[in-house]
């Protein structure tokens, strides 16, 4: 029942506002998190199948009547499902306390929006249909526009509006691309497109595919915030409730952006050196620009947004190399980034929950008052910067190794130097928020409530454990997923 990944959150999302009349807090908390946990557990159900390299093309039946739904579950989509479930569980647990803040309220609506984003992402990941990808992308996107402005502050609305308008343009271009593909091949199913394109070698078709590729890179690139399509991200994140960026940067940019890109280029269109080159450069530019911009930020979430841009650059580069090692590195980094970046955003939520601000220069010395937040933040920061023995180190290492093996020495150097800058801005966070002398204003600040701390600790533990146990994780989850990409065009 692969469809459960989509149906379950969708149904609960629909029910929650109604049930919310019964119980305003406990029930939504419980139901939503139960769904996330269930999805997480359910994704393990397929793990052995997928790691054996099998692809499930599941035809959904309703009481024996076949419905027009074909879902594709291979190791790559399973990895994504797993990541989505894990991060959303973390975010869901975090929200239990977080959304109690006065300015947020209305938990049922909040959770149904959260569930809708999850449903949307699961749909994207499982879809075997280009148009289906678009539709579910819009579900996730619309829900996240609402979440981005959930506090209804004027800056939140501003960020949300820019996010929406830029996304609309992006999705329009995606659709233009889809219609071109449709006009070219007569189908929108991934394997259909792949099999048609596999036989067309004419130069004009190559040009057309090139144009489509450009459109998709722009569209999904905007979704995944690749420079120069990144500008919505800092604006949307800086004032939004911390759970949205955690969700969005943690998984949405990957599921809605990168995943689709690699799926299309490696499994459907077939990779070309042109796309590789373009992606490589975009990735490197993202790495550099994102890291530098993050360095100059004062708002914690804005900083983290730029940091996400930079980290996504690494993944893009990793994917663009096109070697198995590159895939492993990029996919592993994708997973890791989901964990530690959402942890970082959740930390910023904890800080905001405790102090009411996210401006770094107003903070200071919180480590004493909020040891859990500070500790988990160090773990996540160092993991992002690629400091061993945390998970981020291994993924970055693999990407850099792949770069060197593919003879992209300069890019490898840039990647390394950018990680120094990464460490730099994380040290700035540490210095300004946690590691300095206690700012007198915050002498009565308390540690984050139980569920928030729990979720932070959970994610931080994953970072540490993966730092040590990475070989097993790579073997079980990452390598099969990479093999899907290595295998090339799907049938």
């Amino acid at each position: 029942m692969v469809i459960l990944f989509i149906i379950l959150p969708l149904i609960i999302a629909g029910l929650l506002p109604l049930l919310g009349k019964v119980s305003k807090k406990v029930l939504p908390d419980f139901l939503a998190n139960a769904v996330f946990a269930l999805l997480l557990g359910y994704s393990f159900n397929f793990a052995w199948n997928a790691s054996a390299g099998k692809t499930i093309l599941s035809q959904v039946n309703l009481a024996g009547i076949p419905l027009g739904i074909t879902l594709r579950l291979d190791a790559l989509s399973l990895l994504m499902l797993f990541t989505i479930a894990l991060v959303s569980l973390g975010v869901g647990i975090f929200s239990v306390n977080y959304i109690n803040q006065e300015k947020y309220s209305s938990k049922p609506i909040y959770y149904s929006l959260l569930l809708l984003t999850v449903a949307g992402m699961n749909g994207i990941v499982l879809s075997n249909d280009l148009f289906g990808i678009y539709v579910f992308l819009e579900i996730a996107a619309i829900a996240s526009y609402a979440l981005a402005a959930y506090g209804l502050g004027k800056e939140e609305l501003e960020g949300s509006f820019k996010y929406l308008m830029l996304s609309v343009v992006a999705t329009s271009f995606i659709l233009l691309g889809i219609s071109m593909i449709f006009a070219l091949t007569g189908t929108v199913e991934l394997n259909g497109i792949a099999s048609v394109l596999a036989y067309s070698k004419a130069i004009k078709i190559k040009y057309l595919i090139g144009i489509c590729s450009a459109l998709f890179i722009m569209g999904f690139g905007l979704k995944s915030a690749i420079v120069p399509f990144h500008s919505w991200m800092p604006d949307a994140y800086s004032k939004a409730p911390a759970t949205l960026p955690a969700m969005s940067s943690g998984i949405m940019v990957k599921a809605a952006g990168l995943y689709v890109l690699i799926r299309l280029f490696y499994n459907v269109f077939g990779i070309t050196p042109a796309v590789q080159t373009v992606l490589m450069y975009l990735g490197v530019i993202s790495i550099v620009v994102g890291a530098l911009l993050a360095l100059g930020q004062n708002n914690l979430q804005r900083l983290l947004a730029y940091s996400s841009i930079s980290q996504i650059g690494y993944m893009v580069v990793g994917f663009a190399i096109g070697t198995p090692l590159g895939f492993i590195g990029a996919l592993f980094h994708m997973f890791n980034h989901g964990i530690f970046k959402s942890l970082l955003f959740l930390n910023s939520g904890s800080i905001e929950n405790a102090t009411g601000t996210r401006e770094l220069d107003e903070l200071g010395g919180l480590a004493k008052k909020m040891p859990v937040t500070a500790g988990t933040n160090i773990v996540a920061s160092l993991a992002t910067a690629g400091v061993p023995p945390l998970n981020g180190f291994w993924s970055k290492l693999i990407i850099i190794i792949a770069l060197v093996q593919a003879k992209f020495y300069i890019f490898a150097l840039i990647g390394i130097l950018a990680s120094v800058v990464t460490l730099w801005y994380f040290l700035i966070i540490q210095r300004r928020a946690f590691f300095g002398k206690l700012n007198e204003t915050w002498k009565d600040v308390k540690e984050a409530p139980f569920w928030m701390s729990l979720s932070s600790i959970m994610l931080a533990l994953i970072c540490i454990i993966l730092g040590i146990a990475f070989p097993w994780f790579i073997r079980l989850w990452i390598e099969p997923a990479a093999n899907v990409l290595v295998a090339g065009i799907i049938r």
Binding site: F131, A149, V168, S179, G186
Partner: protein, 102 residues
């Protein structure tokens, strides 16, 4: 490519151009949404044209219909945001929406 499809694709390009031109130059939030709508029109025309081109108008229609539903939801949310902004800023000028920068 049929002549109809050719003409339609030109129209799609023009519509998208107009929409983007609107998005680039207009200052009123509602105007911007209208621009986005025009782009969306271009896109739905493109979908249908592709169906015509491939002789698969039924599939194209169903895609276009789904697209229209999505469009409605989007516009609804966007307008809700616009009203939210109007409530807080008493202005619909995009130029006032630059508190977030740097």
């Amino acid at each position: 490519m049929s002549e109809l499809a050719y003409i339609c694709f030109v129209a799609v390009a023009v519509l998208v151009f107009i929409g983007l031109y609107c998005l680039m130059t207009m200052k009123n939030l509602i105007k911007l949404l209208i621009g986005a709508e025009i782009v969306a029109k271009g896109v739905s025309l493109a979908l249908i044209t592709a169906g015509v081109e491939k002789n698969n108008i039924m599939l194209a229609q169903s895609l276009a219909i789904t697209f229209i539903v999505v469009e409605v939801a989007l516009v609804a949310v966007a307008l809700a945001i616009v009203i939210g902004i109007y409530k807080r800023k008493k202005s619909l000028d995009i130029r006032n929406l630059n508190n977030l920068r740097g």
